[in-house]
Symmetry: C2
Subunit: 283 residues, 2 copies
């Protein structure tokens, strides 16, 4: 199999690593606008050769793992260049605009929209890790619009990587993911900002931070190049989730201001049952 990976960062690179491991006769071509990343990917060894979009005609499978606003521009061009039997997948954290961008493309049936719910707060080729996707959920959108044989080819890869599959339409995907992923990133970035602002006036505040703070602020290390476009493309849903979050925080604040400590206790107790819900998701 000839696999082209466009974007050799955390997600693209982790795909390569696992595919190399589980499907050893795959030749992996890497494409990236960042020459240094391409060099690193080659040096680390998860791609076999650097390539360009001019060579996409050779591909059996193409994985696109770049900022989602760039995917919208690039995806139609990728479909233009591939052979009729090739499979193209994007792994972006938004699905609606991406699916729209090729809705009427001649090669729509060559495309499969996926979102593996996996990652870390790090980015770039050095951030790529083995078995990142093992046991993780992979959301597939508009599966019915992809040629059946190419669905099968994709499933072989997902099975080899140990992914759990869920099907969803792009509108629902973008709505729900705003709550369980995009909002977490904003809450974390803004928590980081709030504490950094304080630190400017009060030195050594971070010396008092423990594992709880580190855990809630971890995602504030995430790549702005990747997350800016996600917030942009999922703007309406993100604003909705953010508004509800701000309302909840303001309500908590007013309980505190009104000395309603019973109310506070009740709030926290109700939320505590998230313990049960989170069973099986690792932090």
């Amino acid at each position: 199999m000839k696999l082209f990976v466009i974007g050799v960062g955390l997600i693209g690179g982790s795909f390569c690593k696992d595919i190399k491991q589980t499907m050893p006769d795959t030749i992996i071509y890497g494409i990236d606008s960042n020459e240094k990343h391409l060099d690193s990917a080659l040096k680390i060894g998860f791609i076999d050769r650097p390539s360009t979009i001019e060579e996409l005609g050779l591909a059996d499978v193409v994985i696109i793992s770049i900022p989602v606003t760039t995917t919208v521009t690039l995806l139609p061009q990728v479909l233009d260049r591939i052979q009729d039997t090739a499979l193209v997948m994007d792994v972006g954290s938004t699905k609606q605009e991406i699916c729209q961008s090729i809705a009427t493309h001649d090669k729509r049936r060559n495309f499969l929209a996926i979102h593996p719910i996996a990652g870390t707060e790090f980015s770039g080729p050095e951030a790529a890790v083995d078995t990142l996707f093992f046991g993780k959920t992979n959301i597939i959108c508009e599966v019915e619009k992809t040629a059946f044989k190419l669905q099968e080819r994709a499933m072989k890869i997902f099975t080899a990587l140990g992914m759990r599959i869920r099907y969803m339409d792009p509108v629902s995907h973008d709505k729900h993911i705003a709550y369980v992923s995009h909002l977490s990133h904003i809450s974390s970035f803004m928590l980081g900002k709030t504490v950094i602002q304080k630190e400017k006036n009060e030195k050594d505040i971070f010396d008092m931070a423990g594992s709880g703070f580190a855990s809630t602020v971890r995602l504030a290390k995430s790549s702005p190049a990747m997350w800016g476009p996600i917030f942009q493309q999922n703007k309406e849903n993100v604003i909705e989730s953010l508004s509800e979050y701000i309302n909840n925080l303001s309500h908590f604040k007013s309980l505190l201001q009104n000395d309603d400590f019973e109310g506070l206790h009740k709030e926290m107790e109700d939320i505590n049952h998230i313990k049960l819900i989170l069973n099986g998701i690792e932090a």
Copy 2:
């Protein structure tokens, strides 16, 4: 050494475990208003015998690890009952009201106010773990008000447990800890609430949650019995930090509403340097 631990939960229990390990000739007496917890502590084996405050006259060292509003009531009574040579420490996450509660007590010099920055989102005796405090910061307040010999006794324990020591006045402690600990817990609880509310209408949303969400929402599992009193006692500082957090979230939202994606990118990039700041704090 005869050690009395009042409150045999996560923190009290973890102290017992490490002290048993590093100072094996210690006899540990457990006091708790919850009989079941006392039974568990005895069964797990980190206390040697259940006790009551009537026996506090036997103690060489007393560690108080209970909700901070209860500490304020109980601490003067504990000091009333101990012998002149005993050391009493509380481990609460707030320090100002606790220090005030015994400021003029005859046995003020028998008391040392500490806050070990260590813990997990779990609670109760079963949550107690070995080496919880190893390498962790322990903030000591008003050290100059504690008898020198008793400071030495405390330091022996802290050294045995591998703690890093920092000194701070209670007002600064409560101000700073609101930002790096108390606010994290609220952000996490309210994130959990926002997603649970959404889940009520949109089923299976949690199936889409990954490690990022789990990490930011982890603290929403924390004990309301412990955290309600902390927010209550540190009300003013918590409200201040919460207000700044809400302002930052609202600003982020307005950047998004105004399509100021360059502004968003710049925000995230500036906050990204938290990577460097967080070096050494484990999530």
